[in-house]
Symmetry: D3
Subunit: 285 residues, 6 copies
Amino acid sequence: MPPARYRFLLINAFALPEEAGYGLRPSRGPKEARLMNHASLAPLLADVDWHLHDGALATHGNHPVETREEFAIVGVNRLKLVREACESGQYNAIVLLGGGDPGFEEAREIGRRHRIPVTSCAHAQMHLARLLGHRFTVMDISEAHNMHMAMLVRHYGFAPNCASIVNLNYPLPRPVLPNDRPLAAEKARHDRGERSEMVEAAVAAAEDAIENDGAEVFIIGCSAAYWLAPVLQARLAALGWEAPVLEGYRCAIEQAKTLVNLGLDVSGLAMPSDHPRRWRRKKYL
Amino acid sequence: MPPARYRFLLINAFALPEEAGYGLRPSRGPKEARLMNHASLAPLLADVDWHLHDGALATHGNHPVETREEFAIVGVNRLKLVREACESGQYNAIVLLGGGDPGFEEAREIGRRHRIPVTSCAHAQMHLARLLGHRFTVMDISEAHNMHMAMLVRHYGFAPNCASIVNLNYPLPRPVLPNDRPLAAEKARHDRGERSEMVEAAVAAAEDAIENDGAEVFIIGCSAAYWLAPVLQARLAALGWEAPVLEGYRCAIEQAKTLVNLGLDVSGLAMPSDHPRRWRRKKYL
Amino acid sequence: MPPARYRFLLINAFALPEEAGYGLRPSRGPKEARLMNHASLAPLLADVDWHLHDGALATHGNHPVETREEFAIVGVNRLKLVREACESGQYNAIVLLGGGDPGFEEAREIGRRHRIPVTSCAHAQMHLARLLGHRFTVMDISEAHNMHMAMLVRHYGFAPNCASIVNLNYPLPRPVLPNDRPLAAEKARHDRGERSEMVEAAVAAAEDAIENDGAEVFIIGCSAAYWLAPVLQARLAALGWEAPVLEGYRCAIEQAKTLVNLGLDVSGLAMPSDHPRRWRRKKYL
Amino acid sequence: MPPARYRFLLINAFALPEEAGYGLRPSRGPKEARLMNHASLAPLLADVDWHLHDGALATHGNHPVETREEFAIVGVNRLKLVREACESGQYNAIVLLGGGDPGFEEAREIGRRHRIPVTSCAHAQMHLARLLGHRFTVMDISEAHNMHMAMLVRHYGFAPNCASIVNLNYPLPRPVLPNDRPLAAEKARHDRGERSEMVEAAVAAAEDAIENDGAEVFIIGCSAAYWLAPVLQARLAALGWEAPVLEGYRCAIEQAKTLVNLGLDVSGLAMPSDHPRRWRRKKYL
Amino acid sequence: MPPARYRFLLINAFALPEEAGYGLRPSRGPKEARLMNHASLAPLLADVDWHLHDGALATHGNHPVETREEFAIVGVNRLKLVREACESGQYNAIVLLGGGDPGFEEAREIGRRHRIPVTSCAHAQMHLARLLGHRFTVMDISEAHNMHMAMLVRHYGFAPNCASIVNLNYPLPRPVLPNDRPLAAEKARHDRGERSEMVEAAVAAAEDAIENDGAEVFIIGCSAAYWLAPVLQARLAALGWEAPVLEGYRCAIEQAKTLVNLGLDVSGLAMPSDHPRRWRRKKYL
Amino acid sequence: MPPARYRFLLINAFALPEEAGYGLRPSRGPKEARLMNHASLAPLLADVDWHLHDGALATHGNHPVETREEFAIVGVNRLKLVREACESGQYNAIVLLGGGDPGFEEAREIGRRHRIPVTSCAHAQMHLARLLGHRFTVMDISEAHNMHMAMLVRHYGFAPNCASIVNLNYPLPRPVLPNDRPLAAEKARHDRGERSEMVEAAVAAAEDAIENDGAEVFIIGCSAAYWLAPVLQARLAALGWEAPVLEGYRCAIEQAKTLVNLGLDVSGLAMPSDHPRRWRRKKYL
């Protein structure tokens, strides 16, 4: 049997101390158990020789991230893992997991030094959404996370393509917030075949975005809500709306494959080295 | 041995009558011989069960296309082939060959009815270029073809990302034009290891685009010049410029794989059926 | 009496076989009877020596067009008529009838070779609407036609000026659609002085666009709904809204006059010949 | 003989005291003598019953206008003439002469109250230029006038269509400036069949704009340079460049005809009355 | 005690004849009494040696301004005051009062000649609002004033940042309008601690803009409504919305201080003199 | 003597270990000695009670930062200082020093929790530049730093206002780069009254940007080059160009004063808390 064409490291955004109880993902067991929504990813990973890193241990606190500061801290923490992975020679692409892309631009720069592509979930979703239609709506989960996504949309240059950013208002658990709307409980309810208010809210918000914002495609903000993607797409289809709903893991994995196949990572002119062979007198935007 | 995951039909933009002598591609022999630049595509096609259609016989004239009218005519001619391919059940994606994307939007709409993705060369290149950097320059070959590319850049919404569109001025042969700058002869010269003025012009123009237009990535307009991509990228690298140079076949093939893997074609809200189940009271741009 | 200054050929988008029964326009009788809404156009045509061509016989099917594919097919079919008209020496302008501008860009290119201006309905309406206010709303009739108009708005560069695109949902008749909302019946009702639900829906949607989308001007998408223009404008005026409502025939005819008077057609640099005297090293968007 | 369909008042931007010697136009004689470049306008005015007003006597000084302040002052001075013309019932359109559109927006608002269209030279040129191609270059005459034109381009929303604004640097005469580059002398030279450096500079700058800025159409800034339009277009054509060159009088006259024919002036929602019948809760840009 | 660092002249937009009874501001008494909302400005003026000019006597009529024409007339009237103030040598900055910025661009040009910064209320508010968030909503008072503000938003280049422009519909008094919704009465009511319907409408409209338009910051259009700023901000805060509400006087005063401190007024390249030392061959937008 | 109105903490971007020898700033002595270009800042700080923090000790290496990764690391390191300063109650504003704004958005978010404004150098310069003219050019020092500035321009939404980004190519010292173009040596040369090639290059590049890119204002990228601002402005003035040249410290200090005076920091809707009192169903860009 030939070696896999793809050798990927998937890196979670951060690892939380288990005892705090705010974890969103299992931190033990085989990689398949620790990778959220593994079942739906398995076909895409069938020809990939992949490892999963649980992420750098959080230094911002003991809870998931939503604020700018938290995203910045976990982003920087992840860079060390990216560099080690690049230097290990083991991988031909790195897939950054997590909805808010912490550390993505910097990781891409590191990858460039090694000619190894790095992909990330929000970025990959937006690029793919733009390919499927002119306007996408982001389904997201809290005020702070929504505004982080708004920043990413602008930062990546997709503002003209963003129909709206929905807040379903199921914020991630954190000490300061009474955990009375646990997103994980909604997923569990849905998985048991019970009615989830979060799913219902997402369907209603998506219909509203289709009818009132011009949404043609949906992407999802926080990775803790990625499980919604197939559910929402099926519900919309049942209502007669032919709207693709993306999530980040699948998009980031596929984008990594494309870059590996084409021998690309990022333009060295967009992310120059600190000792470039050539320099440009001027740059235009 | 398992069946190939990918079953693609590659369709050329048009077929010219052999006797006119304006053909750009061999029209006989095995598919590998008839597919331009097959050698560089072979690795990407290794896991694809692919067929090649030489394109509908040209009705606009006996020469390659460059004007709007010619693109429109060959575009419509190709739609019949797309529909037949969709209806045949043989393919899970269709890749439209040719630099100016004739018939692409309409073919995508047809594909949507069958849930079969259709990809095309300019469109795929622009999406990928945008992923690698903020600004790309199109390298192209003639006044009319250049303005066709300019129209596509705007039509697909990439104007803010287009640094410039270079005209190397090696127009395709046609009765009205003395064929004194044959592009094919340049390729032959280059393939023989001789100096090609077209290659030199491309290198000079690309350096100019990097230094004066803010180009970070290059794409190529006319498919008859796709052979330039690896040549130009290597020459730029030798000069110290780390600039990816894309061409359309590879990009369109890879985009097709991504869409197949993710079960996507195009948003049904962006390209509605003529008898949609639901309708929207308003649409926003 | 001096010869008329204007010698125009008006060309319908397509001609349907009479027996299918899907025709929107009379296909027999004098030109005045065959030109939709002739009464309101008569004053504009008083100083024009005009002919009417019923359009090329449809090859896409036996029903009006709404999809991308159908627009592309009838567009290409029309080009032959445009070329013949240009070559005939009989006309100093060509006016393309029909709401979705099939074949317009290509026809303009053909006209350029003969220095004969070609105008078209959506294009002419958008340019005029932009002159009267900053934002216009398109009133249109079906999901597919709406999205075609959305494409045209973007293609012509008017996205920043488009407040919204309304779908009144009176799709054109076609085999696949039960013809239970015939637009022609609405016009007949209105002409008889009876209440038309389509008119009422248009008034309500226009008020909504004024109050909620920032619409300052209205244009109409499908030419089968052009009769709405004066009706809607009068109804809005009666409600206190001073909003111009345009339709395409009048705008395209007047634009043609302007171009004839000024000796213009289209920039030869925007639509270069296939054997231009000069070429540009680069083009910027 | 029937009454003329068009009854236009053409109003100059301002009248200068004759004794100062800074006048650009004859202030005596029949209207034909006082209308700059009348010969080229005569065919367009053949079916127009027109009057010419020399403009309000200047209050900003005794010289032509170039600065923002000067444009504002003569703009306000002209409004009284516009109102009187509207109230006289004599005209069905008002054409504001002058390159920098002083008082245009306000005059349009006054016209709206009387349902009389008002057109102006820069505005009309830009709208027509946009119709002929995607990018236009403005040929203009001085630093201050250039920046006034830049402001108008942005104000009217044409910034994405403006390739560049050329300064030929033949500023209008004024006390503070030694009149050593008199524009009028250049015109005289050209009219006598002699070489004009201004014409040569315009040709060179236009070629540069075509080759380096992506210009597809040209318009002219200051009305004192409108005589350049046919000269420049012919020279470019002789060089092989098929570029339309517009000037303001012809464009503004033709735009007025279009508006008269279509019964339009400006959207009442864009320029509401001070006691509108209806009001909108919100407005979007 | 050292001389004040700041020597400002504040100039009202216009002065109305007292007898007409349409005045919005006291025209007698000490400057503190004549400056609207002085109490809230006092801390900002503590280190300013300031004078107040009541504005040039109105020539457009005897009532406050709302239409384009009225703004243009009072704008030009104010320029004389600006020039005199600049020439007096008494001031190091000029603050133009009034919501619609009449005469601002021209006054800035005059100031440039003397290297004296001129600031104005709408302009200063928009710049500051943009600093605090990405999208602001303008709270304004009438159809005509709203559209004037819309023009300013576009003119200053802030259209992408403008979430919406609210019309509270409390138009300023004028002969043609029955004064049945006097804005001043609303302020009086609020000042007496009574319920003001205008305040209630503003709170409701602001909440709507936050929830439905993406507003992050508020600015106020007409200066007669500037008293609303602290009231609205407090009410929103009480509702849980952390939204800054700006008004123009404070912003224009602070902007003037910044410019004085940094020794800046406006770029001489953006507002060139009528006899500049250098000239540019071309200008890009 | 009354307490100073302003109590600012100025925080450097990072502190380097002295022994490495790559430091750009003195790390010992009184605050005035440690603040770069203090002499030109002294007047602005005269009414400020200010402290200077040398920055968090670098963890990215022993040299100044230029790459994305380095900016991210020092940005996160600085956040702890910002939080401590906010919690100390000692300051009413925090001014982040350094050209590339490391940690700015996150610091602003922290400041918001304490209602303390945080300003930063690139951000403050761009806002002020936009106020002085429509287009600014950034003068910067190396490939990597230039692209970081390009990212900031886009991130802050100023792309339409950025004429160009100049690379003078005096990269900051780092182990991987032979320090043969030391920027500090250029400053020293200039300070001694000798000719600095860097100054000459800046003047030439600025003239080029004025004449060819439409630059109206200049800002400076890397804070190590801020000393250029007055030098460049004076040289341009001597050449006849009236172009303001900004630098970051002065702009950030003045912006902080404005925010303190107006009681503002950032919109709480743009940077929501992690436990906001209210939430929005949707957000628009």
